[in-house]
Symmetry: C2
Subunit: 411 residues, 2 copies
């Protein structure tokens, strides 16, 4: 195991942490769910066409079906087919059937003349102009029975769900959602709605973790607790006893003296083995990753900016690995800096809140947002990306290529 | 009004449709909601700092506070401050206070020596190395009272919500959600779980519209109805009478003969004024846009590919305009084609399902997905973008720049 080869006290770089987390989080089992619950989830089966698509020759237009070999320019309308109708008949020369888009053709050897190519005289139609095509969607034209239509592993979006519905796949196999518990500890924390007393601060990590998970379709359980081991251990007791499977336990350390040791001791007390205890990256250096059987615990350093970074890099990596993503590590991209970045060279990898966009030529541009310390949350007001600076990066000039993680598409 | 200048029968191009829809959808009123309900919604106020941030000088590290003018190399630890503590005291030379990250400094004129720079002998500390900085986050360093921290109009993401929580803004003003009703009409439609009889097809538009809206945080009401005006009109009666305000009425036409006329007549029957009745773009040419007071109705052509395109281009435009987006029209981008696109020149603008990604150099690449007709849904399996071809575009070669709308970030 990699964690035995690299003891927890050793410094890990962020990529190594992600690889280790991915290795600790094999895909969770699939479950069959109704289509509306499958939105945004990863498909764990491949979907094939149950029959030829379309299953019969269909009209591609509203119009009139006639025999392909019929040279007439005037026809008697002998039937009218709506999309739901199914009335096979053999057409004779001089006969036409009014037909709606999508309706099954009444026999073989036909062509469809769209409405706009004829004069409609009631039960008689006359040609205005011979159309260039036959306007028929042929059986099997889109797919043959057995063809793979939706590959294993895609994230189910509305269009994919519509395709599944059209095929009658109404309970696709998707990865089950992990159970997530989140404990925020810290004696200095008060509810955001309260006015902090001297030395107190409002708890902003609870809403951060809750909404980060909500964006991934996860409803989580949360507690805000004093930094007292018996109190916290009591909450964790059902999980420790095995009465509840908690796939992911997140602990937001307070900023009291020794929060890192507090989380570490707590996790060890609850039977977790600490795998990673410190990361060569900032913010979020005092990260803790631990495991107990199939349960993963991540101890997040107290300040919200470190939380924000660690959630999007490390926690998301665990969630993607469990989901069954082919590459669960963060999908770092390259973009061009829009302005000078006056960062002093740092011996650690550094993550910056940033804004990205696609410029009119389709290039990713990155604007680092000003922030002074890991306690400075003001950059989070508008950040939509995380910029990554390798160790010893010095000041960067505009147009320098940089590595970044886009968080959303919004401008 | 633009709709009087351009009668409904005239053909509109897609951009003109979007501009018209945006003009018909002024921003909905704001409402105050709790933070967890504000996720993904547009902020309708500007948030300023209620006080200096941080509100007092704070330690930036776990360490020991000493007087800045104290030349000693050995100190007696006279107090220990956790983050929640607030015990002002004037330090004498030779005295140190152990202090946690984030804790308020006990008096002015201090510096913090991080733990790793001292030998900790219990109640005595000895210097190992003088640190280069003072490790203090000063009052007002991040923002001054009254500074704007979150601008009006941002979409509230988890990081922004954490910032709001830290400021005590627990009920931000955001745009209220529109009420959306969706009617699917068509006598040939059966539930996706049913096996269609001859000529019948499974209804895939209901799940498409439901999950498209769910992705935007909207829970909608839906009905699947036969294409019979009295039946449909009965459902709409409470809205017509004004008992319910339906901001957006979506009608998915069936594929029966004359679905366009059916929707049009139905809307006029219910008091809607048809503003747009046909679009110079494919798929989705027989689009209907109508209004009745503050209510907008959009009639979507029956086939799911046209639905998929029209939802992402026109319906999303209405939703963004109501939300208060600064530019509600679709954020078209430019990307480079990855392969030849053998499209015959068309007299209409054409939309294609496509896949986009950022290549390693940070350029947007576009792969058009094969599709044969508007009844072919197989491209929706993996599409994450809509490619737009202007009228008369001929075949395109790899690396040609094309206009596209990215739908999500997922690969």
């Amino acid at each position: 195991m990699q964690e035995s080869a690299q003891p927890p006290h050793t410094d890990w770089d962020a990529d190594a942490v992600c690889r280790q987390i991915a290795a600790l989080c094999p895909p969770l089992e699939p479950e069959a769910v109704p289509l509306h619950q499958a939105l945004g989830r990863r498909l764990r089966q491949s979907i094939t066409a149950p029959e030829d698509l379309p299953p019969f020759d269909r009209s591609a237009m509203d119009g009139f079906a006639i025999r392909r070999d019929d040279p007439a320019s005037r026809w008697v309308v002998v039937d009218r087919l709506r999309a739901g109708d199914w009335r096979p008949r053999t057409l004779q020369p001089g006969q036409a059937v009014a037909i709606a888009t999508g309706a099954a053709l009444p026999c073989a050897g036909l062509q469809v003349i769209p409405r706009e190519f004829v004069h409609d005289l009631g039960n008689i139609i006359e040609i205005r102009e011979r159309p260039p095509l036959d306007y028929i969607r042929r059986r099997g034209e889109d797919a043959r029975a057995g063809d793979e239509l939706v590959p294993h592993g895609v994230i189910l979006q509305p269009g994919t769900l519509a395709l599944l519905a059209s095929l009658g796949h109404t309970r696709p196999q998707v990865t089950r959602r992990p159970t997530v518990w989140h404990l925020t500890t810290g004696s200095e924390l008060v509810d955001p709605a309260e006015t902090p007393g001297p030395g107190q601060i409002r708890d902003s990590n609870s809403i951060l973790v809750q909404t980060f998970c909500a964006n991934r379709g996860l409803q989580i359980r949360q507690w805000r607790l004093p930094e007292e081991e018996p109190v916290v251990a009591r909450i964790l007791e059902p999980a420790r006893r095995g009465d509840v499977l908690v796939d992911l336990l997140l602990i937001s350390g307070g900023a009291s003296v020794g929060p890192h040791d507090f989380t570490r001791n707590l996790l060890e007390q609850c039977g977790y083995e600490v795998v990673i205890a410190r990361v060569r990256a900032r913010p979020g250096r005092p990260l803790i990753v631990a495991r107990r059987g199939r349960s993963l615990a991540i101890g997040l350093p107290g300040n919200p900016l470190a939380h924000w970074v660690c959630l999007h890099i490390y926690v998301d990596c665990a969630l993607r690995a469990w989901e069954g993503a082919p590459s669960p590590t963060p999908p770092w991209k390259t973009g061009l800096l829009t302005r000078t970045l006056d960062a002093a060279p740092d011996r650690f990898e550094t993550f910056w809140p940033a804004r990205w966009c696609l410029n009119p030529e389709g290039r990713a541009l990155l604007e680092p947002l000003p922030w002074r310390s890991s306690g400075d949350l003001t950059a989070l007001a508008t950040a939509n990306a995380i910029l990554r600076l390798p160790p010893q990066t010095g000041p960067l000039t505009p147009s320098a290529p940089v590595s970044f993680l886009p968080l959303n598409l919004q401008p």
